[in-house]
């Protein structure tokens, strides 16, 4: 899931080398993925009305279903 989010974000932004994803696990087993990108690239991963961010979450969640996990995607600035 972490790799999937990283790879998707890298393809969306202008500065792929600046993409990073930190992974945490909460007490209830939920995986939290924190996505950070270059300052000027936030618009690219969030999109108009948050549509791109929602699309990223939807696809990462589908991957989590396969692993029977719950996942949260946070975009951190």
């Amino acid at each position: 899931m972490k790799e999937l989010l990283e790879e998707l974000a890298r393809r969306l932004v202008d500065e792929p080398d600046e993409v990073s994803v930190e992974q945490f696990e909460e007490d209830d087993g939920t995986i939290v993925l924190e996505l950070a990108v270059a300052e000027d690239d936030y618009g690219k991963v969030i999109g108009r009305g948050g549509r791109t961010a929602n699309a990223l979450r939807t696809v990462v969640k589908a991957a989590a279903v396969r692993e029977n996990r719950r996942v949260l995607v946070d975009i951190v600035e």
């Binding site: 999109g47 939807t58 589908a62």
Partner: protein
């Protein structure tokens, strides 16, 4: 490499990524037809890829468009499909649209449809335009934006 070749390559790479992550047993077919690049998964058991009400396949399609266009204007269209899903969905949307139109005409009141993505709203709008007894318009904000089917007012 031409714009269309680059688009096909990007769509193929994206679908490989998703097929891997979702552990799907599917073949990837990417085709260009005029200005439309279609990436299709062919295989069994693609429910996870399609998602509830097509949520996941539409998310992949949105990401594909953003990845290919990078916010630049383009004449290309990118479609992501799975084993006939778009055809089945278009059929279901036309049926819903016809039912809503009949209800609007019968009751004389506007009927709101379920939220749809822009391409689906366009399909329904164009489908109902030919009837001549209803009009359609969009209401609400994404992702809740939906069409309303209203009876056409008789000319005075």
């Amino acid at each position: 490499m031409s714009e269309i070749d680059k688009a096909q390559e990007a769509v193929e790479e994206l679908l490989e990524l998703v097929v891997d992550a979702l552990d799907l047993d599917a073949e990837i077919v990417v085709r260009a037809d005029g200005d439309v690049v279609t990436g299709t998964l062919v295989g069994e058991d693609l429910g996870l890829f399609i998602g509830r009400h097509g949520q996941t396949i539409d998310a992949v399609q949105h990401l594909a468009q953003r990845i290919v266009f990078h916010g630049r204007p383009s004449d290309l269209r990118i479609v992501i499909d799975a084993a006939g899903y778009r055809d089945r969905r278009a059929g279901a949307l036309r049926r819903q649209a016809d039912e809503a139109a009949e209800e609007a005409v019968r009751t004389g009141r506007p009927v709101a449809l379920d939220p749809m993505v822009a391409s689906e709203r366009k399909l329904v709008h164009e489908h109902l335009r030919d009837r001549g007894d209803v009009e359609t318009y969009s209401e609400g904000d994404e992702p809740e934006r939906h069409l309303v089917v209203a009876p056409m007012l008789e000319d005075a």
